[in-house]
């Protein structure tokens, strides 16, 4: 069973009305690594289609959202390769499938990994059916035919275009077994390939959620309670309504969302709700924004009106003195620490972070008697559809989601609060509404990367290698926030329990303390890795310093002989570390107050090492001059996209390391726009060199793996430059003065 099914033309046109269908195959892209096995047990429910039209167009109908990661190029590459298609004729259409069509999530650096097998199989199956159709027409053996550029050729030199064969092929059975190409025969995969979505992105024609225009559409802006979890007590809309163009002012109540992944209501005590607020609906965005400004709202601040960052930090520190959930406990860490030749201790802290996608949060919704239609920049259309259906008491199938281009996702668009909000506003005013959050709302009403505190102890043996390692992580829990207090915190997934250096230190103890938090939490590009790799890779550097070992050497020695531990191949991690070190002139002299630092990461089935080269002024200002990045992501489907994802991941992580911090005062997020939630700018961009390890290993993810190593690489480089250890992010110049 290869999971590929023929889909009738009639059925397909219901799903994808703009399709020109000759041959249509349906299949399932995999949703995420953890749920692969679960989805295999479900009855067949395709979430993607391959159609070959009578006009020769080859279309992949995919639910994967394009948020910059390059799926609209990588997915066609896989099909074009196996189908021997004319590259210019292969395109992706966003499939707006609806809730019954299973997983449609874009996240977890999984879109390309999860498409690799299904899409290549589908391409190969279609090719085999087209050949069979041609062979039947010619009365020759299929094995005597070959394909190239969307054409079948036979031994006599006759040719038939795929467009001429699609209809006949659709009447043939899907082959039970399909053979995909050997990697050595790839003509498209693994070759740097220009992105198909670049042209519309340089002339303004790409349509993002923000750009949607629907006949009769009104424009909405919304003011949420500035205090975490607070609600509307009363409001006076008269001033807002006096503004020309303002049509209506309505209260939006806190409304329950379904869980992102199960599409069911979360458990007891979860916090997965839209926020309470007042929406202003107007004839233009500007009038709506002016109306929002003119609102007079009295807020019920609830219980969080006194919350501030100092208090939250103190609470983390207090909890760090309490034992947590033991995630891993190898040997006897306490005893080994007592007996160690040398001890190293350190405590690290990282702040809350906002996503701040360039396209502010927005959604267009139209609720009618019959149902609801939304146009959304979303990473998870199904969660939007089911949340809306539940809240408006509609059947799931009556909510239609059109996914636009996303002006950045980074995990923010896995939350569907804004889609439900837009639907509530549209229902209330009885017209299609484009609801746009101001940048201030976008930053102050986000679902934040959790702040956390990490306490470490290590004991070294006489050779300077760690023989004991304890790590107690204290953090608010994303899983509790989303799923409720009834569950055990998914502690292992909040701190990467099974990962390096677990398994490499004989006496190892990792604990997680779930901190209660009033702050809304969410998935932020690389999620827990963004914190945990910083603290672990920084602490490794402290061990290297304590033992007088070179930081690269320490990592290589700890990794030992190349071997596989579960999915983790130590040899591949060693290789990226060695490659980065050799390309980055590791060990060569640097000027005064300059230095290099390394960090390495395994995750999302990819291996990344980064070496940062920094200089620190006497005033403490850090300049990252150069970053050398080595990645082994298995087969690099589109090497130019892999490079772009590394460049982008480095900027994302560097922005956080140098500038990123969300703080709270009186229950309110203090940052509001890019003047005080600052981003790396072009002038601060280091020279980034990406080296891709040639590999035939299975495809790994690239969207997230570039992010985690950069903060510790820079922090370790700062130590090399100044002798000062960064134990709290973001990096502060006043702590680095000469």
């Amino acid at each position: 069973m290869n999971g590929i099914f023929k889909v009738s033309r009639r059925e397909f046109l219901k799903l994808c009305p703009s399709a020109s269908a000759g041959l249509v195959l349906g299949f399932s892209l995999l949703a995420d690594a953890k749920r692969v096995s679960a989805s295999q047990n479900e009855p067949f429910s395709p979430n993607a289609f391959l159609s070959i039209g009578a006009d020769g167009t080859i279309t992949i109908w995919s639910p994967k959202s394009e948020m910059g990661q390059g799926v609209r190029t990588a997915l066609p590459m896989m099909v074009a390769e196996e189908l021997d298609a004319d590259w210019s004729k292969v395109a992706v259409q966003q499939a707006d499938l609806g809730a019954k069509y299973g997983d449609q999530i874009t996240g977890g650096s999984f879109s390309i990994r999860g498409s690799w097998e299904p899409l290549r199989n589908a391409g190969a199956a279609a090719r085999s059916m087209l050949i069979a159709a041609a062979a039947a027409k010619w009365g020759v053996e299929a094995s005597t035919c070959r394909t190239e550029g969307s054409v079948v050729f036979n031994a006599a030199g006759k040719r038939l275009n795929y467009s001429e064969l699609a209809s006949a092929a659709s009447r043939l059975p899907v082959p039970k077994v399909v053979a995909v190409k050997d990697a050595k025969d790839f003509r498209i995969l693994g070759k740097p390939t220009p992105r198909k979505d670049t042209p519309p992105k340089v002339d303004g024609s790409a349509v993002y959620g923000m750009d949607v225009r629907v006949p009769g559409m009104l424009y909405g802006a919304i003011a949420h309670c500035p205090v975490l979890g607070g609600e509307v007590k009363s409001f006076d809309a008269s001033k807002a309504k006096a503004i020309k163009g303002v049509r209506d002012v309505i209260e939006i109540k806190r409304t329950e969302l379904v869980h992102q992944f199960s599409y069911e209501a979360s458990g007891k005590g979860h916090s997965n709700y839209t926020r309470s607020g007042i929406a202003v609906v107007a004839d233009s965005t500007w009038a709506a924004i002016q109306g929002r400004k003119a609102l007079a709202v009295t807020w019920d601040e609830g219980s969080n009106g006194a919350v501030n960052s100092a208090g939250l930090r103190e609470n983390l520190a207090k909890l760090a003195d309490t034992p947590g959930t033991v995630i891993r406990n190898d040997g006897d860490a306490a005893k080994a620490l007592d007996q160690a030749a040398k001890k190293v201790t350190a405590e690290y802290e990282v702040p809350f972070l906002a996503h701040a996608t360039m396209e502010p949060v927005n959604c267009t919704a139209h609720v009618t008697d019959k149902g609801c239609e939304i146009w959304a920049p979303t990473q998870i259309p199904n969660a939007a559809a089911v949340s809306i259906a539940k809240a408006l008491n509609l059947p799931n199938e009556s909510v239609k989601v059109h996914v636009t281009f996303l002006g950045g996702g980074f995990g923010r668009r896995l939350m569907q609060d804004y889609a439900l909000e837009a639907a509530l506003v549209s229902k209330s005013v009885g017209a299609p509404v484009k609801l746009v959050w101001t940048r201030e709302e976008d930053i102050q009403q986000d679902y934040y990367r959790p702040a956390s505190l990490h306490r470490f102890q290590a004991g070294l043996d006489a050779k300077g290698l760690p023989v004991a390692w304890t790590h107690r992580a204290v953090s608010p829990s994303i899983s509790i926030f989303l799923e409720g207090t009834a569950i055990e915190p998914r502690a292992a997934s909040e701190v990467n329990g099974p990962d390096f250096p677990a398994g490499f230190v004989p006496n190892f103890r990792l604990e997680f303390v779930a901190a209660p938090s009033p702050v809304a939490l969410g998935y932020w590009r690389s999620v827990e890795n963004s914190s945990n790799i910083f603290v672990v890779q920084s602490f490794l550097d402290e061990i290297a310093t304590a033992s007088g070992t070179d930081p690269v050497e320490l990592r290589l020695r700890m990794l030992g002989e190349p071997r596989k531990i579960g999915e983790f191949n130590t040899g591949r991690l060693k290789r990226v570390i060695e490659l980065a070190a050799s390309k980055a002139d590791w060990g060569k002299p640097v000027p005064r107050r300059s230095g290099r630092g390394i960090a390495a990461f395994f995750g999302y089935a990819s291996y990344v090492a980064q070496i940062a080269e920094v200089s620190v002024t006497d005033d403490g200002d850090v300049r990252v001059n150069r970053v050398v990045c080595a990645i082994d992501c298995g087969i690099a489907v589109n090497p130019d996209t892999v490079r772009a994802q590394m460049e982008g991941g480095i900027v994302f992580g560097l922005t956080a390391a140098l500038k990123g911090e969300i703080t709270l005062d009186r229950g309110r997020v203090q940052q509001s726009n890019f003047n005080n939630y600052r981003m790396l700018r072009l002038s601060e961009m280091p020279k980034v060199e990406v080296h891709i390890v040639p590999s035939m290993e299975p495809v790994g993810g690239t969207g997230e793996p570039g992010v985690p190593p950069i903060a510790p690489a820079v922090a370790n480089a700062i130590f090399a430059a100044t002798g000062k250890r960064i134990r709290r992010l973001p990096i502060r110049a006043d702590e680095l003065k000469a």
Binding site: Y208, M358, G408, F652, L680, R681
Partner: protein
Amino acid sequence: MPLMKLQVNGKSQSVDVDPETPLLWVLRDTLGLTGTKFGCGMAFCGACTVHLDGQAIRSCITPVSDVVGKKITTIEGLSTDRSHPVQLAWIAEDVPQCGYCQPGMIMSAAALVANNHAVSDAEIDQAMAGHICRCGTYQRIRQAIHRAAGSTANGKKGASR
């Protein structure tokens, strides 16, 4: 309310809006030119950049009444067929990821290279200082501007790549 006459991408347009309305929203909501993006509303991010008489300006803080009688060019008007040297360079370097900030970036870059002088890295830093790209395409933006200007890092004319 007085009808205001605007020159947008070589076309004369009359709009009936509050004179204080930022040009950004007139372009996007009134004229349907959605290539110019809303990012921050405070001139912090550059996503809304357009040309006013050839100069790059932030349309999100420019009242429409200030631009009456001036020549406005948006990303849609830079060329009809993506043939502007900056657009060609952007395609050649495959700059965009999510792409949301790119119209603004391209408009600032086009203003920078307009007089066909070779640009230095320092000039690029300065011209692009008001722009944010959250996807982190800065390195490619620099390369693309050099390509469009036919210049090298030190500001000399020459084969850029």
